[in-house]
């Protein structure tokens, strides 16, 4: 059983809870693999997507996961003007709860926003990405995918490449994979990797060729173009020349290494199409697994007694 009514981050989960979610997700993958991709388990419950940042993929994934559990789903797209109008986060969330939400799935630009809601709501709060803090379901689906493909996580060499400093996906993955016993390496320019991360039990490489030697899993992160303007790297061209994933670099990893990406991809910048569409890429399976993992999370959270 999970210990808390909310999923705020991997930091807040113990190892047993992570394993429970992954095991349960396996059962749900069976469900979404068949013709009738629906079970009545959470029939009559309501999930609300409260997305303060635009996102189609994650939001759709949660929406599908909820519907496959027979829940009703509402999408509350908050555009910035209502924020400017002054309705605070708590007010909005209380309104949503009063509408009958059992689950509130929130994506927000401020780290800690889901934690604020969780304190004040009876509903289960699921963090779909808060500022540069965490994106726990992404890490869980990444771990699920790795376990499925490699049979285990413990002892694997896993490289996360890209804009670590601004990536909540990277942070959640670091917590999750180190917790599960993998050896995690971060690869990227020094301006995009904070010096403090070394204390999080990972190795840091600025040279991609060195960092990829013997790696079992590559997780490529999206490079945001806006960072270019602020002095984090001089040009996307220079970025991709040094840290873009090419077949030559991939060959330095293990022969059966898998390539992952949380999406959306910048083809030609952090990853070339040949690899993204190639046999080692498991990017599309990540998407499928995302639904199974999110179903598992919602199912398990519904069982937590208030």
């Amino acid at each position: 059983m999970l210990n808390n009514k909310d999923l705020l981050g991997i930091k807040e989960l113990c190892l047993e809870e992570i394993m429970l979610i992954l095991d349960t997700a396996a059962g749900f993958k069976d469900v979404i693999g068949r013709d009738i991709k629906k079970v009545p388990a959470l029939r009559g419950k309501t999930a609300v997507n409260l997305f303060y940042e635009p996102s189609t993929r994650t939001r759709t994934s949660f929406e599908l996961a909820a519907k496959r559990l027979s829940m009703d789903v509402i999408n509350f797209s908050v555009n910035t003007s209502s924020v400017v109008k002054g309705e605070g986060l708590i007010d909005t969330a209380m309104t949503v709860q009063a509408l009958g939400a059992d689950f509130i799935i929130i994506r927000h630009t401020s780290s800690g926003a889901p934690h604020l809601l969780a304190k004040h709501l009876r509903a289960s709060v699921i963090n779909a990405g808060d500022g540069t803090n965490e994106h726990p379901t992404q890490a869980l689906l990444d771990a699920f995918t790795i376990k499925e493909k490699k049979g285990r996580i413990k002892g694997l060499q896993i490289a996360i490449v890209g804009d670590i400093a601004h990536s909540r996906v990277a942070k959640s993955n670091i917590y999750c994979l180190t917790n599960l016993g993998a050896k995690v390496r971060l690869i990227g320019p020094p301006t995009l990797i904070q010096k403090e991360v070394k204390e999080m039990g990972v190795e840091v490489f600025h040279n991609m060729e060195e960092g990829l030697k013997g790696v079992d899993v590559l997780i490529m992160l999206r490079i945001q173009m806006e960072r270019q303007g602020k002095g984090f790297f001089p040009s996307t061209d220079e970025y991709s020349r040094n840290w873009g994933l090419t077949p030559a670099r991939l060959s330095l990893a293990q022969d059966n290494a898998i390539v992952m990406h949380p999406g959306p991809m910048n083809r030609g910048i952090e990853i070339v199409s040949e690899i993204a569409d190639g046999p080692r890429s498991v990017i599309l399976e990540q998407v499928t697994n995302g639904i199974a993992v999110r179903m598992a999370v919602m199912y398990l959270l519904s069982g937590v007694k208030r």
Binding site: G88, I90, S111, G112, A113, L116, G131, R168, E196
Partner: protein
């Protein structure tokens, strides 16, 4: 108001008084301070019999000190009365043992001209429970571009100038301010923060800020400005006072510059020697303050700085906010801790830990700040208006924020049990219990 306080233990470092004794107040002024030899419990007969209506306060087991003086407080009036008013803020002050406060100019409108100063003085004299001394802005609107009219504000009642809330980023303006202030011989209080480095930071920069995904304010942002300001003070000969010191590097800088003979004083606040950045965990906005809470090493250095005199003053930087404002995402919540009602209790811990003696603590919280601001307060002088606090060092008190007298209930110390609290404050002709 006629009072005789008997059998207390009097500590007034400004007059080097320390010992058991009685204090007699007639018509609201200190008539006599009578120190006793140990064990002698008899009060002076003639003063008691001369006025049978005199109130006798038995201060046995209590310490009597000058009313404390908080040189860094935000009273929020005019403009932000929903956060605090002069009335509620000064009531909180006397509850905390303070008989005098200096209020910062970041009100609305900003106190950058004589009419706002006049408003504050008038309100304070009508509604203030303790003495209120306004601090005027250094620059117009606190924009950091043009100097405000220090002279006219001084005449109206400002006793110091500060742009607190922001730094004066432009070094030339800061230089001019320090030079110009010499005319009026008033301190310039500097909020030291290089805002290009602190940018939109919300907590101390370090491993914890990375883990929590919150933008960090590096310690260097404070240290760089402290260094600059002290050098400018040296260059100009102006009086510089450094507000809310929070880091080890800052203490070291001030210590070495003081050795060079620069006329600089410094203050810290109780939260900087009581809690670390860990209080932010869980995204608790009550721990969001500027400068931010730092680390154990910094706490150690601050305590050492208090002990060896590098830091002259303990002030609260009392920053009340409305409950709704702190009930927001960490990024958007305002900075500040409502500190008047917890300051003494937290500071007495320093005495328990052997960092300061009580007398030294009183220096930091009364004598020194009053002296730096060039007021008559911080002292139990004969024939002056009575301004005292009775402290029970052994009384345990649980901090309950929603019972605060201040409108600001924003404190990270809610639920803490502190030993030692003020039990009576006498000031402006009133007794507060």
């Amino acid at each position: 108001m006629n009072i005789s306080i008997i059998n207390g233990y009097i500590i007034d470092p400004s007059q080097s008084i320390e010992g058991p004794g009685d204090i007699y107040i007639i018509d609201g002024r200190i008539k006599e301070i009578s120190l006793k030899k140990r064990g002698d419990k008899k009060p002076k007969k003639d003063l008691i019999t001369s006025d049978p209506g005199i109130r006798v306060i038995n201060a046995e087991g209590l310490i009597i000190v000058p009313g404390l003086f908080d040189m860094h407080v935000h009273l929020r009036e005019p403009g932000f009365e929903y956060k605090e008013t002069i009335q509620s803020g000064t009531l909180a002050a006397v509850k905390g043992g303070f008989a005098g406060v200096c209020c910062m100019p970041n009100t609305f409108p900003v106190n950058d001209n004589a009419s706002v100063t006049e408003f504050i003085k008038r309100k304070a004299s009508q509604e203030g429970h303790c003495m209120v001394f306004p601090i005027g802005a250094i620059t117009k609107g606190q924009q950091g571009i043009e100097l405000a009219e220090m002279g006219t504000m001084r005449d109206e009642g400002c006793i110091a100038f500060s742009d607190d809330g922001q730094p004066v980023m432009n070094s030339l303006i800061m230089r001019r301010a320090l030079e110009y202030s010499k005319t009026f011989d008033v301190p310039i209080i500097s909020h030291c923060e290089d805002s290009t480095l602190s940018e939109d930071g919300v907590m101390n920069e370090g491993l914890l800020s990375v883990k929590l995904g919150l933008r960090g304010i590096p310690a260097e942002a404070e240290q760089i400005m402290i260094f600059r300001d002290i050098l400018l003070a040296e260059l100009t000969g102006g009086r510089l006072h450094i507000a809310h010191v929070s880091t080890e590097g800052s203490v070291n800088l001030i210590r070495s510059m003081k050795k060079r003979g620069v006329n600089v004083t410094a203050e810290t606040c109780p939260h900087y020697f009581s809690i670390t950045e860990e209080a932010v965990m869980g995204y608790d906005t009550h721990a969001k303050v500027n400068p931010p809470l730092r680390t154990d090493r910094d706490i150690k250095a601050i305590k050492e700085g208090l002990r060896d005199g590098t830091i002259d003053v303990i002030a609260t930087d009392h920053a009340p906010h409305h409950r709704d404002e702190k009930l927001r995402e960490f990024d958007t919540a305002p900075f500040g801790i409502s500190g008047l009602e917890t300051a003494l209790g937290l500071s007495l811990k320093l005495v328990d830990e052997g960092v300061l003696t009580i007398s030294q603590l009183v220096e930091k919280m009364a004598a020194n700040p009053a002296r730096i601001m060039q007021t008559e307060m911080g002292s139990i002088k004969l024939n002056t208006e009575a301004s005292l606090v009775l402290i029970d060092k052994n009384k345990s008190c649980k901090i309950e924020a929603d019972k605060f007298v201040s409108k600001g209930k924003n404190t990270p110390f809610d639920g803490w049990t502190l030993k030692g609290m003020p039990v009576m404050t006498i000031c402006r002709g009133n007794i507060y219990e």
